[in-house]
Amino acid sequence: MLFQGFAASLELQNLFAAFVGVTLGTIAGVLPGIGISGTIALLLPISFGMDTLTALIMFSGIYYGAMYGGSTTSILVNVPGEGASVVTCLEGHQMAKKGRAGAALAVAAIGSFVAGTLGVVGITFFAPPLANAALAFGPPEYFSISLLGLVVLTNLSGKSPLRAFIMMLVGLMIGTVGIDPMTAINRFTFGSTQLAKGLDFIIIVMGLFGMGEVIATICERQTDIKVEKVKFRDLYPTITEIKRSIMPIFRGGFIGFFMGLIPGPSATISTFVSYALEKKISKHPEEWGHGAIEGVAGPESANNAASSSQMIPLLSLGIPFTSSAALLLSGFMIHGIQPGPMLVSSQPVLFWGLIASMYVGNVMCLILNLPLVGVFASLLRVPLNLLMPVVAVITFTGAYVLNYSLFDLGVLFVFGLLGYLFQKSGFEPAPLAIGAFLGPQLEQGLMQAMIICEGSLWNMMTRPLAGAMLWLTTLLVVGVLVKTLIKYMNSRRGLS
């Protein structure tokens, strides 16, 4: 079956479609703001005339091409192109500042390739049972995961847990601004339709990280520093770096694959989880925050694996779990294909052809991206006083293209200023981003779960999946409190 699929996918026109898709996807991923959704939506009408398999191959190419490209701007200029690239900014950009941009980009590409391919292998063999497992997750489970995620991930930044927690709460607060989808009323909008839209997460992170960096650079006399020339050898990772990346890639891929099965923006969450994991088990804890390569390898692999496994619910159940998957679904439907449990049996050539093309596509992405690493890394050689303004313009343009809203540009700038101030004063922006991101999910899950469990917390704790996570969360929170208490007592004792 699979071989038939390979045969179909290696046909010339399909190869070409894959190439076009992957290229467009990478461009879309590199340019912040314009995401997969926009690109696919644009190409859909053109695809009407194409052979079905060819069209689908092109779309899937765009889908994960974008995943590869998203890390580029994160590493180079600290501008996350999409939610899943935010974490890459944390370590990737720091590496770039130290002149290791090429290494970061290369590792991201390699990790994405390995994880993406593993992901496709996973789909090939485990699609139906995994899809059914995904169904066991209901609102109580989403709530528990979000809560667990918040608690775990708020410890991402080493410094003050108190501050990190506050930032997270602020993020949650930001997440509640807008029309509440649950009850259709306006919250914290003060009568403004613009605010009723809510504050888009991507704009917030582009502001906090991207604009923040730009403002910091401009205001800190860093633009007057001349950048030294970078040798060619520096453009690619050293053997040590590669060795250190191998396990994170596998771990990240593993995490990403399983998290991709959960509805919602799981690719982004999986990057956070991978980051936290790598940080905890890292043998070089002092490097974190200043360019630890595991922090690029893990998350990037996670998000590629997640985007692969997101295809599983789409193909086996016909249900899209993210907006880009929904677009793919529309693409399928326009061509008269109904993905779902019957797809494998009713359209085997299509199904396997698509899967095979994903393998091919991953290879293409790698071939495409690796040489570009050199090109991109040398972009950083542009003197900062010219580069930063250009970055600012890229950020604004990308932000506008997201929602066609000038209001968003204002939000972007405000968050840029905030990001700068945060940077200077020891308040970490990452927990805020996590809070803003998980907030809506957390709240939704909570509201739904409360109704389903009829208000009883105990009901929730006794569900197998949700309960396990909630107990874990409680233990963690208690653990943190106890540790803080002990530290406080010790410092008291030390003084007296």
Binding site: M173, C219, K424
Partner: protein
């Protein structure tokens, strides 16, 4: 310095948020309403930022681990803000091409680049490149 201002800012923010959240009804456990989570997080935020505020007020002013904004930075921030506001307004009047070229040029001058011709050329080429990418290649609407 900034630390204290920010701590105070957060305290104020939490307070305001909690105040407004009180307006939204809370509901009951089995049927939570829109105000459920906002009230909870507003309350938590208020408490925690209060604690944080007191801690940061109590710390000594140590120029080592505290950030300050010197005049240089403040001047730049002001320049940036004015320029950006002008840019956003200009976008709706003059369209993307003109507004962005001007803004880019302005920014390059703000970063103390010498000369006029090179920056001008750079602005024009970069903006045209973007315009090409977005509008022509990707068929996206820019103002």
């Amino acid at each position: 310095m900034i630390e204290r201002y920010l701590s105070g800012f957060f305290l104020l923010l939490s307070g305001l948020y909690f105040y407004f959240a009180n307006d939204i009804s809370f509901g009951e456990l089995a049927k939570p309403k829109a105000g459920f989570l906002p009230n909870i997080i507003g309350f938590l935020a208020l408490v925690l930022s209060g604690v944080n505020f007191f801690i940061s007020m109590g710390k000594k002013i140590d120029s080592d681990n505290e950030g300050t904004i010197d005049v240089f930075a403040a001047k730049n921030i002001a320049l940036l803000s004015v320029g950006t506001i002008a840019y956003i307004v200009l976008l709706s009047f003059a369209g993307y091409l003109i507004a962005t070229v001007l803004y880019l040029f302005y920014l390059i001058k703000v970063t103390r680049t010498k000369g006029t011709i090179k920056p001008a050329l750079l602005s024009l080429s970069v903006v045209f490149a973007f315009y090409f990418c977005f509008v022509i290649l990707l068929d996206v609407a820019l103002p």
